[in-house]
């Protein structure tokens, strides 16, 4: 079986032009759908705001978040101290601003660890099946048997306090749901003709899993990930509240809510304002996740 003779040389510029045109169409369609969904616009703006606040923290904060001025303990929100001060005299507004960095770091690092891990395990388990599938799914069952927060607490307690350990603990509690999701998608897709045809073309299992099955799982995984962000942040906040996550003096929102526990009635701002930040960000991720799901839903995209 000899190779066909070299065909006419293609104009590379032409090829690139066509490729770009196709990609542009995809983006335009996505933009149209994005614009149509007001809730998603709100969600995107909130998250964008979060990222900007985290990046521009030094410019947005009014005070040093670690600076304790005991004479200014528990001041209510005023002109100089927009969110008031906590029990150690630290400016709550500035701590909330810098806390955005911690929040963002936790959310994305947990996602970066647990999502690919779950995806790989799920796809491999679903596609190869048999004993491997049984083994991996029983493992994930063990994890799934516990509520995520309890599991995260257990792991955090075992690993010791600190933000890094909190991240690992939450990631470990999180991966099984992605594995289950990826496995379900894999099972539904692996007997479709467009996968079977790859076997007929001679593709090996690895190529099929990586190049053909995984792309079909991505939509649900991405949607789940966006919707999960809120839960991750709440879990981190919970761990912080219990003293298992971020440690003082780190300005982590959950820890800040915990600090204000004793002052809830009279100095409500110490707990409430960081809590409000958590609320806004979690809601932002939820709205964004819903919107992404709508956009990625193939039925919405059909031009016919």
């Amino acid at each position: 079986m000899t190779l066909p003779p070299p065909g006419r040389s293609l104009d590379k510029e032409e090829l690139r032009r066509h490729r770009r045109r196709a990609r542009r169409q995809f983006l335009t369609d996505s933009l149209i759908l994005w614009r149509r969904n007001p809730l998603m616009i709100i969600g995107s703006l909130i998250i964008l705001g979060l990222v900007l606040v985290a990046v521009l923290a030094p410019f947005l904060a009014t005070h040093d978040p670690f600076d304790q001025i005991l004479a200014d303990r528990l001041l209510p929100p005023t002109a100089g101290r927009w969110f008031g001060t906590d029990s150690l005299g630290r400016d709550i507004y500035s701590r909330v601003i810098y806390g955005a960095r911690v929040t963002l770091a936790i959310a994305f690092l947990v996602a970066a660890i647990s999502t690919p891990l779950g995806l790989i395990i799920g796809v491999v388990s679903g596609y190869i099946g048999g004993a491997l599938d049984e083994l991996l799914m029983r493992c994930s069952d063990i994890f799934l048997a516990f509520p995520k927060l309890i599991l995260a607490i257990a792991f955090a307690a075992a690993l010791g306090p600190g933000v890094e350990n909190a991240i690992v603990a939450i990631a470990v509690a999180n991966w099984p749901s992605y594995a289950r999701l990826a496995r379900a998608e894999t099972l539904s897709v692996k007997n479709n003709d467009y996968i079977r045809v790859m076997r007929v073309l001679g593709a090996g299992r690895l190529r099929i899993m990586v190049g053909h099955v995984t792309p079909m799982c991505l939509s649900s995984i991405i949607v789940r990930m966006s919707l999960d962000m809120g839960t991750i942040i709440l879990t981190a906040a919970g761990l912080g509240f219990l003293g298992l996550g971020a440690q003082p003096p780190t300005p982590e929102w959950g820890l800040m809510v915990s600090d204000g526990r004793d002052f809830l009635v009279d100095q409500w701002w110490v707990s409430t304002l960081p809590g409000f930040a958590i609320l806004v960000v979690v809601m932002g991720f939820n709205l964004l996740g819903d919107g992404i799901r709508d956009i990625l839903d193939p039925h919405q995209r059909q031009g016919r």
């Binding site: 079986m1 190779l3 066909p4 070299p6 065909g7 006419r8 040389s9 293609l10 590379k12 032409e14 090829l15 066509h18 490729r19 045109r21 196709a22 479709n192 003709d193 467009y194 996968i195 079977r196 045809v197 790859m198 076997r199 007929v200 073309l201 001679g202 593709a203 090996g204 190529r207 053909h212 792309p215 079909m216 193939p298 995209r301 059909q302 031009g303």
Partner: protein, 334 residues
């Protein structure tokens, strides 16, 4: 006793199928009590010569699709042999399976599910080239474009996605994908059943041109007798996992010898309102291939059934008519 039908000299025999059985086990409920077996292909003998177009017709459950899948390795061979150019296709290792995919390809029936929704046409058609290391990078694009032009596309289609194309166009993309490897045998599983009749004509013409140009051999699976008549050199009629009649297209249509073939031919709707066909309506429901009874598979519904039919399964041998016309029926005598 005559052996399986040999087509035009065994020197040019490309594919040989002998006593092929393709069974799928069914799990009955939670408790593995009585296990049922779907006998999709239940003893098929077949020879295929190079350059030939063999049409396989039959209704749902007859096993024609499973037969095609078994040849490309997508369905398990329970017993029997399949030989391509003398080498067995049963139980191939990874490397041997890779070699098979250079020579034998398959076109699926549903054009809406045989193209990956997230891949561009270039990626789809070029997949085979990359898998077999025949080309890399922009060279792949060039070869892909050549094949696409052959089936009626141009540069502007190269980076589009499958959902932008109609059914007929998708089947052409699937054809380009299969042919870019320059296979020798192409199995087409109902390639035009999901298409409009005017699009079907385009595809059928294209298939005939490609066959002549690349010296291909086809197994053309279809339930549409009109299409099979137009396309095939020889036709095999299948029923419940067996080939019940095998012969040239002309013989099958003009002098069908098996009762099922006759009924099938008479069921075709006619385009002439003045000449309604003399229809033999087949009573009852088609049987399922699960645990089929002994004897002739068509016996339960055959209008000409005799006592022997339910007891002894008739072999597919030459009984009447020219050499090469095989019938599996006790009543068709030599």
């Amino acid at each position: 006793m005559n052996g399986p039908g040999r087509a035009r000299g065994s020197g040019r025999t490309l594919l040989e199928v002998g006593r092929l059985q393709v069974h799928f086990p069914l799990r009955e409920g939670l408790f593995r009590g009585r296990r049922s077996v779907v006998k999709a292909v239940n003893g098929v003998n077949l020879d295929l010569a190079r350059g030939e177009i063999l049409g396989l017709v039959g209704e749902s459950g007859c096993g024609k699709t499973s037969l095609g899948l078994a040849v490309v390795g997508l369905a398990p061979v329970t017993s029997g042999r399949i030989e391509f150019k003398g080498r067995s296709l049963v139980g191939l290792s990874g490397r041997q399976a890779l070699e098979r995919s250079r020579s034998i390809q398959l076109i699926f029936q549903d054009p809406y599910s045989s193209l990956h929704p997230r891949k561009t046409v270039c990626q789809l058609v070029g997949a085979g080239l990359r898998i077999h290391g025949l080309a890399q990078g922009p060279r792949v694009d060039a070869l892909v474009l050549e094949m696409l032009e052959r089936v009626g596309f141009s540069l502007e289609h190269l980076y589009r996605y499958a959902h932008e194309f109609s059914g007929g166009q998708r089947q052409r993309i699937a054809l380009a994908r299969a042919l870019v490897l320059k296979p020798e045998l192409l199995i087409l599983d109902e390639p035009t059943s999901a298409l409009d009749v005017s699009v079907q004509a385009q595809i059928l013409n294209l298939l005939k041109e490609l066959q002549a140009e690349f010296n291909l051999t086809y197994i053309f699976i279809s339930h549409d007798l009109g299409v099979v008549h137009y396309v095939s050199h020889r036709i095999g009629v299948m029923y419940l996992g067996h080939i019940v009649e095998l012969g040239t297209t002309a013989e099958i249509f003009l002098r069908p010898r098996h009762p099922y073939t006759r009924i099938l031919l008479s069921s075709l709707p006619s385009l002439d309102p003045d000449n309604p066909p003399q229809r033999q309506v087949l009573e009852g429901d088609p049987p399922t291939p699960i645990n089929p009874p002994p004897g002739c598979p068509f016996a339960p519904r055959c209008p000409e059934v005799r006592e022997i039919c339910a007891k002894e399964k008739p072999e597919l041998i030459h009984r009447a008519g020219p050499d090469g016309h095989l019938t599996a029926c006790h009543l068709s005598s030599a």
